[in-house]
C-alpha cells in the first residue's frame, strides 16, 4: 500500500464520517417540511453528538464489560463498512479488500453486538428491542443477499467495486430484474435502518420501538457513538444502493485524492435526492404492526428472487 492510497482512503473515511450526521439531518429536515412543521436545523445531529460527548456516562450496576465495549465495536464495524463500500472511488485499498458477502457479515456483526448489549442489562425494553431487531435482521439479511446476488450474476462477481464499474460502463437498457431488486433494496433499507413502516426513529419510550429500545440504557459518549453509528449505517446503505443501481459518477481511477474530489458533487446530488425520497416514503406510509413486518420483508425477498429469476429467464 502506497502512502498516497492510504491518504485517499483516509479522506474517504473522514468524508463518510462527516457526511453521515448531515445526511440524517437532511432527511429529518425534509420530513419536517413534508409534515408542515418548522424544520430543525440540518446541523442538529452534530450538536446532539457533541452534547453527548461532553456528558458523563452513567452505566447500570449489573452491566458487563460487553455493554461498555459494544458501542465501539458497532461504531468500528460501521466505519470499516464505510471503507469497504465504494461510495466515492472503486480502486481504494479498503474497497478491494472485501466483497459484498463479507460486507453483509460485517453489518450482521454490528447487529449481534448491538442486540447482545441490549440484552446485557436485563431490562424488559432492551430484551424486547433485541428480539425484534433479530427478527427483522434474520428476515432482511437473506433478502439483502439475494439483491446482491442479482447484481453479482449480471456482473459475474461479488466484489462491489467491480459491480459498480461494470454497471457504470454498460450501455443503457431496460433491466426489469434490476428494477425489481432496487425496490427490494429500498424495502430492506427502510427495515434495516429503523425507518417508518417498520420502526419510527423519532419516538422514544413507545411499546412498538425497536432501535430506540435497544439503546435506551446508553448515555453520554456511548449513546453518541451508537447514534453516530446509526447515521453511518443509513449512509452506508444508501451508498450500497448507489454502487448496485446508480454507479454513475464514481471515480474508477487510482488518481489519488483529486479524483475523489471530482466524484463528490454527483454523490452529494444523489444523497440529496435519496434523502428527500426517503422522507417522502416515511411521510406517506403508516407504521406497520410488528406482526406485519415479516410480510413486508417477505415482499422484499420475493422481489429480489423474482429479479433473479427474471434475469435468468429473460437475460434482462
Amino acid at each position: 500500500m502506497k502512502p498516497l492510497e492510504i491518504l485517499t482512503q483516509a479522506l474517504e473515511l473522514i468524508a463518510a464520517l462527516a457526511a453521515a450526521p448531515l445526511f440524517l439531518g437532511w432527511v429529518n429536515q425534509c420530513r419536517a417540511w413534508l409534515q408542515n412543521r418548522r424544520a430543525p436545523s440540518i446541523w442538529l445531529p452534530y450538536r446532539g453528538i457533541r452534547k453527548l460527548f461532553h456528558k458523563d456516562a452513567v452505566i447500570a450496576e449489573n452491566a458487563s464489560p460487553l455493554f461498555r465495549v459494544a458501542p465501539y465495536i458497532v461504531f468500528g464495524a460501521m466505519v470499516v463498512a464505510a471503507g469497504i463500500i465504494p461510495s466515492m472511488g472503486t480502486r481504494l485499498p479498503f474497497t478491494i479488500a472485501a466483497d459484498a458477502i463479507a460486507l453483509v457479515g460485517l453489518l450482521a456483526t454490528a447487529r449481534v453486538f448491538l442486540s447482545l448489549a441490549a440484552i446485557d442489562i436485563g431490562t424488559a425494553f432492551g430484551t424486547l428491542g433485541a428480539r425484534r431487531e433479530m427478527m427483522v435482521g434474520f428476515l432482511a439479511e437473506p433478502a439483502l443477499l439475494m439483491v446482491i446476488f442479482v447484481a453479482s450474476i449480471i456482473s459475474a462477481t461479488t466484489a462491489l467495486p467491480a459491480i459498480a464499474e461494470n454497471l457504470a460502463t454498460q450501455t443503457l437498457g431496460l433491466y426489469p430484474s434490476l428494477a425489481f431488486t432496487a425496490i427490494a433494496f429500498t424495502l430492506i433499507l427502510l427495515a434495516e435502518n429503523a425507518r417508518i413502516p417498520i420502526d419510527n426513529p423519532a419516538t422514544h419510550l413507545e411499546l412498538t420501538m425497536i432501535h430506540e429500545a435497544m439503546v435506551l440504557e446508553y448515555s453520554a459518549r456511548h449513546l453518541a457513538l451508537m447514534e453516530w453509528a446509526a447515521a453511518l449505517k443509513l449512509l452506508n446503505y444508501a451508498c450500497i444502493g448507489f454502487a448496485l443501481f446508480l454507479p454513475w459518477g464514481i471515480s474508477t481511477g487510482t488518481g489519488g485524492p483529486l479524483s475523489l474530489l471530482a466524484s463528490i458533487p454527483l454523490l452529494a446530488a444523489k444523497l440529496t435526492v435519496t434523502g428527500a425520497a426517503l422522507a417522502l416514503i416515511e411521510t406517506i406510509s403508516a407504521k406497520l404492526r410488528v406482526f406485519r413486518v415479516p410480510e413486508f420483508l417477505a415482499i422484499a425477498f420475493l422481489l429480489a428472487v423474482l429479479g433473479l429469476l427474471v434475469h435468468l429467464l429473460l437475460g434482462a
Binding site: E295, A298, I299, F301, L306, L314, A316
Partner: protein, 239 residues
C-alpha cells in the same frame, strides 16, 4: 442484453411486470383492488400485444389488442365492479395460508414453471419465446390464487387472470392463436363472468355469504338451509 432491440426490451419489461402483478394478486386481500389489478394486467397485455403486432407486422394481432382493450381492460372490470357493489363484498376473508407462506409457494411455482417452459421455449422460433415461462408462471400463480381464496369473487378474478396468462402464452409462443379461437375464448370468458354473476346471487341467497366453504358440505346445514332440519347427531357432538 445490450444487443437486444428496444421494443424487445419493452416486451420483456411487460412480461416481468405481468409476473409481478400475479404476485400482487396473490397477496391482495381487498376484492376491489384485486379487480383493479386484473384491469392493469389486461392493460399490460394490451400494450404487449400492440408491441408484438408492431414488431412482427401481423395484422391480426392489432385486432386481438383491440379485443383485449375492450374486453379485459374495460368491460370485464366494469362488470365485476358492478357485481361487487351489488353484492357488497369488499373484503375477502383471511386466505387459507398466510401471505408470506403463499409468496414462498408462489416462488416455488415460478421456478417449476420456468423449468417446465425451457424445453418448449427451445422449440419455439419466435423472438418472445423466453416469455413462455412467464406465461406459464402466470397461469400457475392464478391457480394458487384460486386455491387459497374462499370467496367466490376472488376465485373468479383468479380464473380471469389465468385466461390472461393463457393469452400471453399463446402470444409469445406462436404470435397469437387463430382469430376464430381468440373470439371464441373471449366470448366464453364474457359469458362465464355473466353466468358466474348470476351464480353469485344464487349462492348468496342460499347461504347468506359468498364463502365457498358452504358448498363443500353435502348435507344441508341447519343454519343456512331453507328448511331447517334439526340434526341430532351433530348437536350431540357440539355439546
Amino acid at each position: 442484453m445490450a444487443g437486444t432491440p428496444f421494443d424487445l426490451q419493452l416486451l420483456n419489461l411487460c412480461a416481468a411486470l405481468l409476473l409481478l402483478l400475479s404476485f400482487a394478486m396473490l397477496a391482495q386481500r381487498r376484492v376491489v383492488t384485486l379487480v383493479n389489478l386484473l384491469a392493469i394486467q389486461g392493460a399490460l397485455l394490451f400494450v404487449a400485444t400492440l408491441l408484438l403486432a408492431w414488431r412482427t407486422g401481423e395484422h391480426h394481432l392489432y385486432l386481438s389488442a383491440a379485443l383485449t382493450l375492450a374486453l379485459k381492460v374495460l368491460l370485464l372490470p366494469w362488470l365485476l365492479h358492478r357485481l361487487i357493489r351489488r353484492l357488497q363484498v369488499y373484503w375477502d376473508t383471511e386466505p387459507l395460508l398466510n401471505i408470506s407462506g403463499t409468496m414462498l409457494i408462489g416462488l416455488l411455482v415460478v421456478v417449476f414453471a420456468f423449468g417446465l417452459a425451457q424445453p418448449i421455449a427451445a422449440l419455439a422460433s419466435t423472438a418472445t419465446r423466453s416469455a413462455i415461462g412467464i406465461a406459464l408462471a402466470v397461469i400457475l400463480l392464478s391457480f394458487v390464487t384460486m386455491i387459497t381464496r374462499r370467496k367466490a369473487m376472488s376465485q373468479v378474478v383468479g380464473f380471469l387472470s389465468m385466461e390472461n396468462g393463457l393469452f400471453f402464452g399463446a402470444m409469445s409462443a406462436t404470435y397469437g392463436m387463430p382469430m376464430i379461437v381468440e373470439f371464441g375464448v373471449a366470448l366464453d370468458v364474457l359469458v362465464a363472468v355473466l353466468v358466474l354473476g348470476v351464480f353469485f346471487f344464487q349462492i348468496r341467497e342460499q347461504f347468506d355469504s359468498l364463502d365457498l366453504h358452504h358448498l363443500e358440505s353435502l348435507k344441508e346445514s341447519p343454519t343456512f338451509g331453507k328448511s331447517p332440519s334439526p340434526a341430532p347427531a351433530r348437536s350431540v357432538q357440539e355439546n
